[in-house]
């Protein structure tokens, strides 16, 4: 095993180009577990801790440019207004110690369906900026996850920045686990209202081979909200709309039975979370309040 310690982003890209099998190491919260338990012996470890730009964020007009290694603690503390869904998701990540080390880039790099950030990114809308010595490209979040623990990165590419749409409406995030803290998701759900475009977006975690959106549910809700004039009149969403939305979210899930939970439970829980979050976000929207921070 070799330990590569690039001092700059350019050096990191060069190292990754030279050693495409090198495993990027940032917060270490996935990679080090695999090394400690002998599940993985990469030829090269590529330490990204020295690269300052990965730990920086910038709030722009439309987007937040979030460095891949900005720790979850920073997101929770500094980006609650701009990225309420992701801030809530960040708060559910493991433990304070892990939140101090891990960042969104790690979740994306590992691309585990259980990564806590994914549903929030899917619901908010985001693009992943990846780069190699060949140049950079932007991958829409919907195209980023390609399979179980697989993503759209080329072997020589590194994740640099995640460009996330600033919230223009309420967002929520929940995850189900069998413990009240420090737990891996049995399943997770994120919801974002986008009043500017009069759309809603969703994200589901740990309930399919990859993180997914419940697109049919979104389409149904978009149409129902439009049809009922809900965006304008701010009326309470009817229970039947909420139920159908929840059922469609459940239906979008394609989970498995595993040691953490049954497929049946996951599907059920996704529906409950969807219904509740629709209630919470819509209340916030109606109250607006337009209080954009997560309620919790």
């Amino acid at each position: 095993m070799d330990f590569l310690r690039p001092a700059s982003w350019e050096e990191a890209l060069a190292a990754k180009a030279e050693h495409p099998t090198a495993v990027p190491l940032s917060g270490g919260t996935d990679v080090m577990v695999e090394i400690n338990f002998d599940h993985r012996r990469p030829e090269y470890l590529l330490d990204l801790n020295r690269i300052e730009l990965l730990r920086e964020w910038e709030v722009g007009e439309e987007n937040v440019r979030l460095g891949a290694a900005v720790p979850y603690t920073q997101i929770m503390e500094n980006l609650r207004a701009e990225l309420p869904g992701l801030a809530l998701a960040s708060h559910t990540v493991a433990s304070p110690q892990i939140r101090n080390r891990g960042g969104v880039g790690g979740n994306l790099g590992t691309a585990s369906p259980a990564g806590d950030a994914h549903p929030a990114l899917l619901a908010a809308g985001a693009e992943v900026e990846v780069e190699s010595v060949r140049g950079s490209r932007f991958i829409p979040i919907d195209e980023f996850y390609t399979g179980v623990k697989r993503n759209a990165l080329q072997p020589d590419e590194l994740i640099k920045t995640v460009h996330i749409k600033k919230a223009d409406g309420p967002q929520q995030y929940s995850k189900v686990g069998t413990r009240n803290a420090m737990v891996i998701a049995v399943c997770a759900f994120g919801l974002a209202l986008h009043p500017e475009t009069r759309t809603v977006r969703t994200g589901i975690g740990s309930a399919a081979p990859t993180p997914i959106r419940a697109k049919e549910a979104e389409a149904f809700l978009n149409a129902a909200l439009e049809e009922g004039g809900f965006w304008d009149n701010g009326k309470i969403i009817t229970p039947s709309i909420a139920k159908q939305f929840a059922d469609l979210c459940s239906g979008a899930a394609n989970p498995i039975d595993d040691v953490r939970g049954t497929a049946k439970y996951r599907r059920h829980a996704v529906g409950i979370m969807a219904r509740r979050q629709l209630g919470w976000t819509w209340e916030q929207y109606r109250g607006s309040g337009r209080t954009l921070e997560g309620a919790a």
């Binding site: 095993m1 090394i35 330490d47 304070p96 110690q97 101090n100 080390r101 803290a181 420090m182």
Partner: protein, 198 residues
Amino acid sequence: MRVNFTVNGRPQEADDVWEGESLLYVLRERMGLPGSKNACEQGECGSCTVRLDGVPVCSCLVAAGQVEGREVVTVEGLAEFAKERSEHAGCASGACGTSLDAAKKWEAKPGQDSQTGEGVELSPIQQAFIDAGAVQCGFCTPGLLVAADEMLERNPSPTDADIREALSGNLCRCTGYEKILDAVRLAAARQERQGEAV
């Protein structure tokens, strides 16, 4: 590989480090600082919590090579660290640096009773853990102390919910946490009284 970093204010060098070694292993097996504990090595128990440039992290998940040039505070340095903080109005975090004099002080522990450790100067949180009965087997204690000390630094008057949240990454199997909560409340109260006295 070789790694140079600062531990409890003292520059340290580790040689022949295997690239897959964690900071925890280097502290425990190479630097004679076994206070940080090896309970799960997967970031799920907090027993190995140290401060890395002031921030509490699981040292089992930090690769040794990642700490090159950085500052680490372990439970062994906590008393001195807390003392520095109280003397310099809050600027004792690893990021602020520790003077060489302070580092030397940390080493010297005259009059220590080898059996009981009596005569050792303790930080307020360490003393509170003893006084409140928060220590049983003690394996979770070092990590909890580092985490609790950092929380009290940020939040000197925590509610019970704040304490529970801040310590939710630290498992304890002996105490049922009640006396740990007692200890943190006690340290906070003593800190407050001391603050008022100044």
